[in-house]
Symmetry: C2
Subunit: 395 residues, 2 copies
Amino acid sequence: MAFQYQLLHNDLSTRARLGRMLTAHGPVDTPVFAPVGTQATVKTLTPAEIEEAGATLVLANTYHLYLRPGAGIVQRLGGLHRFMGWERPILTDSGGFQVFSLEGLRRVDDEGVTFRSHIDGSEHRLTPEKAIEIQEQLGADIIMAFDQCAEPMDRAGAEAAMRRTHAWADRCLAAHRRADQALFGIVQGGAFADLRAESAYVLSEMPFAGMAIGGLAVGEPKEVTWAMVDVTVPCLPATRPRYLMGVGSPEDLMEGVARGIDVFDSVLPTRLARNGAVFTRRGRLNLRNARFAEDAAPIEEHCGCYTCRHFSRAYLRHLLMAGEVLGLVLNSIHNVAFLTGLMSEVRAAIAEDRFAVLRDQFLSSYTPAPEEERLRQRDAYRERRARERSGPEDK
Amino acid sequence: MAFQYQLLHNDLSTRARLGRMLTAHGPVDTPVFAPVGTQATVKTLTPAEIEEAGATLVLANTYHLYLRPGAGIVQRLGGLHRFMGWERPILTDSGGFQVFSLEGLRRVDDEGVTFRSHIDGSEHRLTPEKAIEIQEQLGADIIMAFDQCAEPMDRAGAEAAMRRTHAWADRCLAAHRRADQALFGIVQGGAFADLRAESAYVLSEMPFAGMAIGGLAVGEPKEVTWAMVDVTVPCLPATRPRYLMGVGSPEDLMEGVARGIDVFDSVLPTRLARNGAVFTRRGRLNLRNARFAEDAAPIEEHCGCYTCRHFSRAYLRHLLMAGEVLGLVLNSIHNVAFLTGLMSEVRAAIAEDRFAVLRDQFLSSYTPAPEEERLRQRDAYRERRARERSGPEDK
């Protein structure tokens, strides 16, 4: 079945919109949050748990799967859906983001990127054609054009990366063959409004099934992120879904939806979960905190997720303190369910033209992690990854 | 509801028997294999997964839960069933086995054992009365007397430990209060037939609800284990369930059932799973092996477990090679389901007086891990634990 996007309703007082993507593996109601399954597994969760947590779309990383186990193996085993036991829609990225985060290990030219594997140091080359070929072997329902992500504040670099991204976009479209896969283009342009608008216009002229906004949420201030989204969205065709890559905090989902974004993905809910941090309507809790040692309440009252239906904060804290894997599993279930549940509320609110009220209510009671804390955690994470030589960054 | 054991059928050609234990949290058909949830979690599995894997009884460790989170906390949170979200029967050990494995960290006298926590070095004391008190706080359906486990080959040590175990058994019975908990006694006596028989007779005279055989499967040769079981079982009353502690390989379950054992527990299925080793009817497979890289088959054809219904050996190998937690989860599900499924077949065979045929068929096609490999893995495990100072040994 060919991909289709149905725009169902525009919110009256914001740019939020209700829609549905029809894919070869079923429908996805939008706005949607997609958890990330970097290595063909949403970390710690079974497909049954992912589905029960309300996810309808998951993302997998081309870079990782290309290196291990290899796209040919996945193809011969029946494709990514069968391989990972997830029969609902899947989106793969192009590998571009990971490759460009491999500092010191990659060399870019107009043809493509040569890089070294973070696993064994072996040399590989990704081009637009190769990125499409790999994604066709993996077999996701939505695949992404190969783009160049640059430092957002460097004008010359951002402009060069944008032009290269446009040239590569043409080559990706030319290389794209499988009719059951929808190919999305990726807007670049760094932190520069004129570049973002240009990129959006240029790519919108090309026959992409959907439009992504890339190169944001990579460390720049939030105001810059939203300013770039505000410039970009009006330049995109209303008839195609819009995907803001790598964004997934509850407050950012609200801000993004209000600006007309339909699709989000992020490792945030599962990564936070593995650090012991869980979402509530009032903000994050860190379950390692001693004050939860005898707390018989669930993470959140009235949350319908498996974790909140069965376990106390005290038990979850015990699992974390004892180093038990089940703690990571149960926290991940809750955090994914929290975001998918939030998006479900968002869709219901848009349908009734009351999204602005929902957003304001949510943001007035939800205290985001302080920016300082957010940056501290990001840096700690980057350092740890560098220490572990555990490869490129996942957003 | 008071505990009850119903002996339903004796196999015609072996000592195997079919029975049912009625507990405050429901029935347990025997022979049964109980997976171990050391720290109030069967490692990596949710209660929903444990139940789907066919487990009807799980074990939790008093030593671990006493130290962390503390038995009082578990009690105030509603007891172990509620704490860990497992509403079916639970068995707790007495803490004795763990305390006696804390070499260099414990001091034993006739009153009890003084030991240091492996977590923070703090000093604690366990006595028969204290072990019962803790187990009453935890609230399992089946609780164990506090016993002394000794080196099986040292006659004087084994005899002294046995006599102390008998004295402590009396004190445990006197301390035992909760009518909804069944207290089991533990036969000791090392590797000496006359001591084993004496211990079985002495403890059988006491009003225990069930009889365990302790101090075996601690490194002695298998022939010794089975010789001691062969001596002990005929000295135990037929009207009470018999529990062989710490035994759980498929071949040992068959041998134990044939000798009249009703209850088994072991960390083996979950520990092997985390090492990448999974059970099949022909023997263990190590899924890290390169030959599984493109193997589209499930671990075992016709296995009905969640893992085998959805995933290939190639995917499981990928998860292991990529260091993904889901690999541990899926392997654990399979290994627990394999043993519970085997016990289900065993019960059906006993009911039809064809257990000996089932055992012979099973053992003729199942290749156990070589003794040498088994000892090597055990030693590697002990060394790793010693290095990690991760505490006492779990069987």
